[in-house]
């Protein structure tokens, strides 16, 4: 059961499974989220190459996983504990390119106050996106706690936790899935199996036949889905969300896809990814497939798609221009939000810092290069 790959659209965009009923509006938003992600990635790549931002993480090839999953959630009651490769989730729910770009720049308007690296976005609106952490897997037991709180209060919200194939080796995967199973917490665990954890291929990550098979160890159902098929992902996550809302507990979904770019803007995947593998997966592009489907089904015309595409490109370009001009966060943001209230020793350090840099000139930026 957990070995079968759920697919609705084949790589050419042909329906090979029963298409779920998805509203046109949702189909359009799905496409937009995926296009936005691709353009945003492109833009960030350029910004990194020209030294405007330090780092980004490409989503090329895996956009359908995040978009399809995000569409299964209700922003009013659900939570998302995303991974850093989940721009499409934010875009699907209406986060603007500019807000996201502010985080990429860590500028004065960045809602995490320039404290985190690029791609570690945080939002509370339009849906609760848990603040992304670099240490892999830590958010999985947290997602269980978030879900459990809702269960204890008798609410029907769900928490979606997204992570990579590498994340399945982390401590948080084990404790998160184990606790979720025991507590019957309303969580959906979504593993984006893009076959690589930086340079580590999936067969060196685990000897398990599939990632979905790991669900059994925690007494929950495991599903495998074609991660390049946005409708299949959407269907699988929707079903898992339904189970969770109904009090039937957690599900593990493995979305099988392929990271078509580097791990990050600093990574050179040609050192370790076989060219044939890339060639093979290039044929399976999630966007081409979905666009064909939309056109075939008469949901959108080709020109409409081209217009949307251009609109996304322009939104990203404009966002980059805007974000570049916003300046750095104020010096006191180093000290605020450590605690709810500034304790005396931090107040003293803050006062010293502000005095020091105003009398002795700005901090000296001896910025090194981010290797990964």
């Amino acid at each position: 059961m957990s070995d079968q790959l759920l697919q609705i659209l084949d790589p050419t965009g042909r329906k090979v499974g029963p298409a779920p009923r998805v509203r046109r509006e949702v189909l359009r938003r799905l496409l937009r989220a995926m296009l936005m992600t691709r353009h945003f990635d492109d833009r960030c790549m350029k910004l990194q190459r020209t030294g405007k931002i330090g780092f980004s993480v490409p989503n090329l090839g895996i956009e359908a996983v995040s978009a399809g999953a995000a569409a299964a959630l209700d922003p009013e009651r659900d939570w998302i504990a995303p991974s850093y490769r989940d721009f499409a989730m934010a875009f699907y729910h209406g986060v603007s390119a500019e807000a996201m770009m502010d985080t990429q720049f860590g500028n004065a308007a960045d809602n995490n106050r320039g404290r985190q690296m690029p791609v570690h976005f945080t939002f509370r609106e339009p849906v609760r996106f848990l603040s992304i952490s670099s240490p892999i897997g830590t958010h999985l037991p947290q997602a269980v706690g978030i879900a459990l709180a809702m269960k204890k209060r008798g609410e029907d919200g769900v928490c979606l936790a997204s992570f990579g194939d590498g994340g399945t080796s982390s401590l948080g995967f084990h404790s998160g899935l184990n606790f979720a199973g025991v507590f019957g917490a309303p969580v959906v665990f979504l593993c984006q199996n893009n076959q690589w954890a930086i340079s580590c291929p999936i067969d060196k990550q685990t000897a398990s036949a599939t990632i979905a098979a790991k669900a059994e160890a925690y007494g929950m159902p495991g599903r495998r889905v074609d991660g390049n098929d946005v409708l299949a992902v959407h269907k699988a996550v929707t079903e898992a969300v339904k189970r969770a809302r109904a009090g039937e507990g957690p599900t593990l979904i493995e979305a099988v896809t392929m990271r078509m770019g580097g791990h990050s803007t600093s990574d050179d995947p040609s050192r370790y990814v076989p060219a044939e593998l890339l060639a093979e997966w290039r044929e399976k592009d999630p966007l081409i497939r979905f666009q064909r489907f939309l056109v075939d089904q008469g949901v959108m015309g080709e020109e409409e798609i081209a217009a949307l595409d251009a609109e996304c490109a322009e939104e990203c370009a404009a966002a980059a221009r805007a974000a570049a001009g916003k300046g750095r966060p104020a010096l006191d943001t180093i000290f605020s939000d450590v605690y709810a209230e500034l304790p005396p020793h931090l107040r003293a350090q803050q006062d010293w810092c502000i005095r020091h840099y105003s009398s002795r000139g700005e901090g000296v930026d001896e910025k090194g290069e981010f290797p990964l």
């Binding site: 939002f123 848990l130 830590t138 706690g145 948080g172 184990n178 709810a340 931090l346």
Partner: protein
């Protein structure tokens, strides 16, 4: 007022707060029907049900990770780690996650949780049931670290910790769990965090201590008073992070002679920070070296535990050294 032991005061603090605030939950290994291995959570499941006091699988990473999630979403979890020695699998969740959530999310997500755990020697627990790991945590901005040494403080600090908007590590000196009783106010009773407690007045020297070393230092100060009439002030730090640095510096300046005492190994222990504060802010007032009395820089032994742990005689020796220094 009732006379309670320290562990009973913890239990009373939990019950009192759970009665008042239904978002307070207790989770951990064996905290449910068994009531915890030290019985700190005895009767909670019976009174509040399994929904509010529940056993977890054997994973500290899970206990703290799930606790963080509960706190992120409106609950006030009190997580128990069975022995502080077993907290390290959760180290990442505590220092990388709980302590940094508010900061990294620009204040959008916060983690008002308490992590309770028995710590320190005194029960012949050997390497892994005796450690004092406070220094591992006190280097972590965003975290608070609290150590009561009396039943009344245990209850009052615990209630303040649960009400605090930030994550608090609450270290309970297991050697004092049942060593004496004290009157503890009934109902809600708060002792503010980040305040020290003057256990004994005095101006000839000051001893800074916390946890199970407080009664040891008290005894030492009494003996010194008897032996030579010197008045040694004893200060229970109570909250190690954020520390009331001003109070420490003021006491050090007032006395001019300082001894710092803890059970943990000396090197990079918490006492180093106290010495460093004094070396930076009160050195001109010092009339003697700042002496540390601590566990040795070895793992915690078993049979020889009572040679490893500082006792009143060792504190007396150190006090004599600073008092006699010219």
């Amino acid at each position: 007022m009732t006379e309670l032991t320290l562990v009973q005061a913890v239990n009373d603090g939990l019950k009192t707060k759970m009665r008042e605030d239904e978002t307070v939950l207790v989770l951990g290994e064996d905290v449910g029907p068994k009531g915890g291995v030290f019985l700190a959570t005895e009767g909670l499941t019976a009174e509040f049900g399994e929904e509010r006091c529940f056993d977890t699988p054997l994973s500290e990473d899970g206990i703290i990770g799930v606790g963080i999630g509960l706190a992120l979403n409106g609950m006030k979890p009190v997580c128990e780690i069975q022995f502080q020695d077993f907290i390290f699998p959760a180290f990442d969740q505590i220092v990388s996650e709980a302590a940094k959530f508010r900061y990294r999310s620009g204040g959008m997500y916060t983690v008002p949780m308490v992590i309770r755990t028995p710590y320190g020697g005194g029960i012949r627990g050997g390497l892994y049931h005796s450690q004092s790991g406070e220094a591992y945590f006190c280097h972590t901005p965003g975290l608070k670290v609290v150590v009561p040494s009396t039943p009344a403080d245990a209850k009052g600090l615990l209630i303040s910790a649960i009400e605090d908007p930030d994550p608090v590590l609450f270290l309970e000196p297991k050697a004092l769990y049942r060593s004496f009783r004290q009157e503890v106010p009934e109902g809600i009773w708060r002792v503010p965090l980040s305040t020290v407690r003057e256990v004994r007045p005095g101006d000839d020297a000051v001893v800074f201590c916390y946890g199970a070393m407080v009664p040891v230092c008290e005894r030492a100060a009494e003996r010194i008073a008897e032996a030579r009439g010197a008045a040694v002030r004893v200060v229970d730090l109570r909250t190690l992070l954020p520390l009331d640095e001003e109070a420490v510096i003021a006491a050090a300046r007032a006395c001019g002679r300082v001894v710092v005492v803890h059970e943990a190994p000396r090197f990079c222990g918490y006492g180093a920070e106290i010495s460093a504060l004094i070396a930076e802010h009160a050195i001109d007032a010092m009339e003697a070296p700042v002496v540390r009395v601590t566990g040795f820089d070895t793992p915690f032994p078993n049979t020889l535990e009572h040679y490893y742990l500082p006792d009143a005689r060792r504190v007396v020796d150190a006090l004599e050294r600073v008092l006699d220094y010219e």
